[in-house]
């Protein structure tokens, strides 16, 4: 075929080419260096244009255009990942050359970079090239996805929101006590109950402020409802006038997520906001990520009273689970950022090759993969082997080091010739990541790429 035009390249980047078209274009890209260069250029333009459009939203709306990868959560994870990978254990059990283990360290640290790079202005051509290379493969695809992160400036309004709720709850209880103290005095001594609001306001992180309110406070709440709680009941009614925000929250439009979250779980948001450390918000928002069932994740997480560094991994761990609920029966295009997130913060790439596209799909579609978990697939084009497919699954949360993963033991390299003439190499790496590389060619040729996966 002749050279691929810019329209086709962009259609490929946007995931708009049909199967046969895509194969034709990819085959050509694999063979034509000139078009590959133009493809890279088109990808850089796409990434930069996406980034620039995101800047139009202004600071208050920035997260919308930020990558779906929680940039607040990712940076803290980077040091942790590097710490883990530096234990050196993987060196011993890495099936490939020691080189892989050595460079894992760099890769593990490098990968989260896209998340942070995204928020920077593109003023430097080098930075642009670099970030475009590993990051928004399909930048424009990512835009409609909700951003999971919440920069500081976005947190402020939600903190204010939460603080308002806390104040309102406190005021409501106070007023309730005033109104009901006379009535209740006939039965109970009035001394204890009035302490409730003060307690809640002063110690909003205590479970009493959450949904798991103690018996006393729930009783108080029930008594309060008919009268003094009116102002508290009213906000939901007011919000009821604006059903869009509620549904938007469900539809993952980040703009209204903070109010949406407050609506679903007012007490929890209040609680999170009152923590003032901002980390709680981060936690909630990290959970309320790109996946439609995210509100559930956020709710599930928010009752946790202690906010520690462990929240970030938990948020990430919740997402693949949520993703499975909506996973399509085929592979679909995702951004590199999303792929990194699905891989729990680190991703395996073939050194020296530019990914053509990144996809995710159920493991049931890939021989040897755990069928119940998602596979992240990165497709490359190599000049000699043509399309190379790198599939990967992160280790199970509770997986032990040295244990088998999908039937493979550390150090095993399983090479199979596929009926379609491709060669598939499967192995697990030092951190228990299950990997599969498929390419057309001699087994040794494919295996040579295994050593470049890091």
């Amino acid at each position: 075929m002749g050279h691929v035009d810019d329209g086709q390249l962009n259609a490929l980047l946007d995931g708009e080419l049909s199967g046969p078209e895509r194969q034709t274009v990819e085959a050509h890209l694999a063979a034509c260096a000139e078009c590959r260069a133009r493809f890279e250029e088109a990808r850089a333009f796409l990434a930069q244009a996406t980034d620039l459009l995101g800047a139009l939203d202004g600071p208050a709306a920035r997260p919308r255009s930020a990558p779906a990868t929680p940039s607040v959560a990712a940076p803290p994870s980077a040091p942790r990942l590097s710490t883990v990978s530096r234990t050196g254990k993987e060196r011993a059990i890495e099936p490939g050359a020691p080189r892989i283990a050595a460079t894992h360290q760099e890769r593990a640290v490098d990968v989260p970079e896209p998340a942070t790079a995204q928020s920077k202005a593109i003023t430097d051509a080098d930075l642009t090239r670099k970030s475009a290379a590993i990051r928004p493969l399909f930048g424009s695809k990512r835009l409609p996805e909700p951003a999971a992160d919440t920069p500081v400036e976005r947190r402020l309004p939600s903190l204010a929101w939460a603080a308002m709720l806390v104040l309102a709850v406190g005021a409501g209880w106070m007023a309730n006590e005033v109104l009901h103290s006379g009535r209740r005095a006939q039965v109970v001594a009035t001394g204890a109950p009035p302490q409730q609001p003060a307690e809640v306001a002063a110690n909003p992180t205590a479970p009493a402020a959450g949904t798991t309110a103690g018996p006393t406070s729930s009783t108080a709440r029930q008594q309060a409802r008919p009268t003094v709680r009116t102002p508290l009941i009213k906000p939901p009614a007011e919000r009821g006038d604006k059903p869009p925000s509620a549904d938007e929250a469900a539809a993952n439009i980040p703009r209204d997520r903070p109010p949406g979250a407050a609506r679903t779980e007012p007490a929890n948001t209040a609680e999170a906001g009152a923590l003032a450390a901002g980390r709680a918000t981060q936690q909630g928002n990290a959970g309320a990520g790109a996946i439609p069932s995210a509100p559930t994740a956020a709710v599930a997480q928010s009752p946790a009273p202690s906010v520690t560094d462990a929240t970030a991994p938990r948020a990430r761990a919740a997402q693949p689970a949520a993703a499975r609920l909506v996973a399509p029966a085929t592979f679909r295009l995702i951004s590199m950022d999303e792929a990194v997130r699905r891989q729990s913060g680190t991703i395996r790439l073939i050194d020296g090759l530019q990914p053509l596209r990144v996809e995710a799909g159920p493991g049931s579609l890939v021989p040897g993969a755990a069928p119940t978990r998602d596979v992240v697939r990165i497709v490359y084009a190599d000049a000699t082997l043509g399309a190379l497919t790198l599939d990967q699954q992160p280790a199970e949360a509770g997986a032990r080091e040295g244990a088998s993963v999908n039937g493979l033991m550390p150090g095993d390299t399983l090479v199979t010739a596929q009926p379609d003439g491709t060669v598939r190499v499967r192995w697990i790496d030092g951190k228990g990541y299950w990997l599969s590389l498929t390419g057309r060619g001699e087994a040794d040729d494919v295996r040579a790429f295994v050593e470049r996966v890091r």
Partner: protein, 160 residues
């Protein structure tokens, strides 16, 4: 309909007009029109009407628009704790907006629609183009936006 599209429409219109308040007004207008004549394929329809409204409105008040955007920028800038960063972001947004303004209406619309997650089919439907032309349109629009922005960075804001 409102629930599903209000957020995306306001975002699209904010990007298009640079004025969140006006974007909100225009989005309301879009929904009013949608109620008057419910579209069969709402997504491209809503976006197309929104972009048309924004264009007409922009012609009428091109000057006022800049003034409003400036005001909005100043207001939000003064209320935040990090004015420097805010200022930088506003400057960048202004530069992007200026770059976006150099594009043709079609290129600009295609870019904004794509950014809202529209498929090529939907963009084609909203803009009255052939689907096969969308890739080329987007390729050109992306390139021009980036180049216009870079040119601007290289001259007006070169100091940064």
């Amino acid at each position: 309909l409102y629930a599903e599209y209000h957020g995306p429409l306001v975002r699209l219109l904010t990007r298009r007009t640079g004025d969140p308040a006006r974007a909100e007004d225009l989005a309301q207008e879009v929904f009013v029109r949608a109620m008057e004549s419910p579209p069969s394929n709402p997504r491209p329809w809503l976006f197309a009407v929104a972009l048309n409204l924004a264009r007409d409105d922009g012609r009428r008040a091109a000057r006022q628009e800049r003034h409003l955007a400036l005001l909005a920028a100043e207001q939000s800038g003064s209320s935040t704790p990090s004015p420097d960063r805010e200022l930088e972001q506003h400057e960048r947004a202004a530069a992007v907006r200026a770059a976006l303004d150099t594009l043709t209406e079609t290129d600009r619309s295609a870019l904004l629609l794509k950014a809202e997650g529209c498929s090529y089919d939907e963009i084609a439907s909203a803009l009255g183009l052939a689907k096969g032309a969308i890739g080329t349109t987007l390729a050109r629009a992306r390139r021009r936006l980036v180049e216009a922005y870079r040119a601007r960075e290289g001259t007006g804001d070169g100091a940064r």
